[in-house]
Symmetry: C2
DNA sequence: TAAGGTGAACTGTACGTTCAGTTCACTTGA
DNA sequence: TCAAGTGAACTGAACGTACAGTTCACCTTA
């Protein structure tokens, strides 16, 4: 690979920084490539040497921001750990970041070229976190061993994301708790 | 409201029909307003007299198609009924229609003007269906009365949608069964 | 004859591309 | 040690394209 000349690093950094700002200020619609170029003072030509498409830039910028905001909990109890992870994600999502997350996920569906970036910078990290928590929980015999970590991830986060995207109801902390509780314990009486 | 002159009805119908075809053939990206206009032989000017934006057209066309494809089951048992409903939706989603569904949901996030249509023509119908099944299940005491029908809907369909949108794993019938089973019974051992 | 529809041209926005020219970190050689 | 040279990386500005949505003069039919 390229030995990453200092100029490249600086340009990449400027772009990601400007993108994060724009995303915070006005969501994905505000993070136009022209706007990013203007604010970062990096030319579009250079930007497109580093990323294949607009979505990729936003995914990288946002993914790094989110990763920094959500640590991996360890309370010594599987249910609490998983619940805490969902709580962290939902607290993050309930704020203005949630909108950006939804927009980004949506953009990756509309523009498949960006989805590898989204997967790399966001999904894989979340999935790995849950996989670790799930393994701990399995070791402690606290969860159903028939269920894979992937299925658990989808069951835990899916409802959150679904509500976020359809926007039919506000995503408060109480709502998030109800969702994760129902997912953990099941719907049956 | 307009008394819906026969010409209006015909135009609307042509548009919805053409849109359904285009969605089937090439997904949402193929259902350009120009393409819809060309195929339906209804002018763009007329189209924009009936719908506020592109997403609205697609949502209406697709919603009607989906509603027709997914009946409300009644097997005399809540668990089976809910599972069956999720199965129907997932079978529908696992095929080429699933992609369109994801694209449409994505489009409504990117373009909020379309989301009322999406809600009206798709989400509300699904939500109403589950609400009815949920009430039946409550009457029979088969599900947790602490959980609302809305929460149940999100827990049942969220994982499916999440997987569909991120596309990290194929959505086979087995996968869908695993998801709905985990959602119904919970993750705990 | 008037409500509804047509068609074609037009505007605006934003993605992604291209290219001639510039900058800067580095070798090279005296 | 320092001027000259080299090439990779960046700039700026223009351009092509695609598509959403609008407008308007004209036609058609109940």
């Amino acid at each position: 690979m390229t030995p990453e000349h200092p100029r490249s690093l600086k340009a990449k950094d400027s772009v990601l920084c400007a993108t994060t700002e724009l995303l915070t200020e006005g969501g994905l619609p505000a993070a136009t490539v022209d706007a990013i170029s203007a604010r970062s003072r990096v030319s579009k030509a250079t930007i497109y040497k580093h990323w294949p498409c607009r979505t990729a830039i936003a995914a990288e910028a946002f993914g790094k921001q989110m990763a920094a905001a959500i640590p991996l909990p360890d309370r010594g109890n599987a249910v609490d750990d998983l619940t805490e992870q969902v709580r962290l994600v939902s607290a993050f999502s309930a704020g203005p970041h949630g909108t950006v997350f939804a927009q980004l996920l949506a953009a990756c569906v509309a523009d498949p070229a960006g989805s590898p970036y989204f997967r790399e910078y966001f999904l894989d990290a979340r999935r790995a976190a849950v996989a670790e928590l799930w393994q701990r929980a399995l070791d402690r015999g606290e969860v159903d061993p028939e269920i894979t970590a992937d299925t658990a991830t989808d069951v835990l986060f899916g409802p959150l994301i679904f509500r976020l995207m359809t926007g039919h109801q506000a995503l408060t902390q109480e709502q998030a708790d109800a969702l994760s509780s129902a997912a953990l314990r099941g719907l049956l009486s």
